[in-house]
Subunit: 142 residues, 2 copies
DNA sequence: CATCAGTTTAGAACCATTATAAATTATATT
DNA sequence: AATATAATTTATAATGGTTCTAAACTGATG
């Protein structure tokens, strides 16, 4: 739950000008009690419902990518036709409900540490992501 | 390393007619010593290099999806703009080299069992996938 | 060999994302 | 405060991977 002035300094500190578009997007994304997941499409709808003045889709893409690059968002890839973003930027894993297309954060109690025993020579691990797909009992299993 | 007559029965057994296009694709995908990863694009190139008669891109998509549905291929999603397929259909995990965009299978020695302690009520786990992104030491970490 | 459902095909359509280039805005400078 | 600048926004076009369409073709069946 940050307020406007905090967004301004947050943006400025990372070399992004606090434009009114970016501040609106901050408000939608970060002025909340809980973290959440969204697609660009959902975000665009959300913004147009919340504000009178529209934000161009190009700006939404630009801003989300800038925020991702600055580490304010994580991108989660579920399938090639669906890209989700997550305002929870801590290391964590996900359940993906194939019936509802909803992402659910796992906490550490739910998935134990993933133990990676080998390295690729000369390479550093940049992330470890676990995706647990779930579906109602009647669905096919892979 | 299967041969042509084996592809014919493999296809017939799963209710797919053994057309010459499908048999060619089988040859490219399954007539090998080792499993491998590919994108549709790479596959299409591979086919056009190997055979004189071209196979329409639509047919390649249709066939790959049919093979995936029948369980002859797995799809691995790395990012929203890159969909990989894997001829290794056993349960396993992946390293993804961000420098070269290459996927590498993990064997069980490399990643221990992922321990999932909680379930989503009324849902069944349909898959558990671990993706370990790696990059050269100089790259950014997330 | 006639039939029919399954398959292939070229090309159009689709849709999410990115690029473009002109207008606008935030910030630094005078 | 006015000016200069670089950053940002914007509408629109372009892109690229994938799916759709509908006509032509092929494999299996009796």
């Amino acid at each position: 739950m940050l307020k406007n002035s905090e967004f301004v300094s947050k943006l400025r500190n990372s070399g992004l000008r606090p434009t009114k578009q970016r501040l609106k997007i901050c408000e939608v994304l970060f002025n909340r009690d809980k973290t959440f997941h969204f697609t660009i499409n959902e975000l665009a709808k959300n913004i147009s419902q919340k504000f009178d003045e529209k934000i161009s889709l190009a700006t939404i893409y630009n801003t989300i990518h800038a925020f991702k690059d600055k580490g304010y968002l994580k991108e989660i890839t579920i399938s090639s036709d669906k890209s989700y973003f997550d305002t929870n930027i801590t290391k964590h894993h996900h359940f993906y409900d194939e019936d509802t297309n909803l992402l659910i954060d796992c906490n550490d109690n739910e998935i134990g540490k993933v133990n990676i025993k080998n390295n690729i020579t000369g390479k550093k691990i940049s992330s470890v992501e676990v995706l647990v797909r779930v579906a109602s009992d009647t669905q096919n299993q892979n």
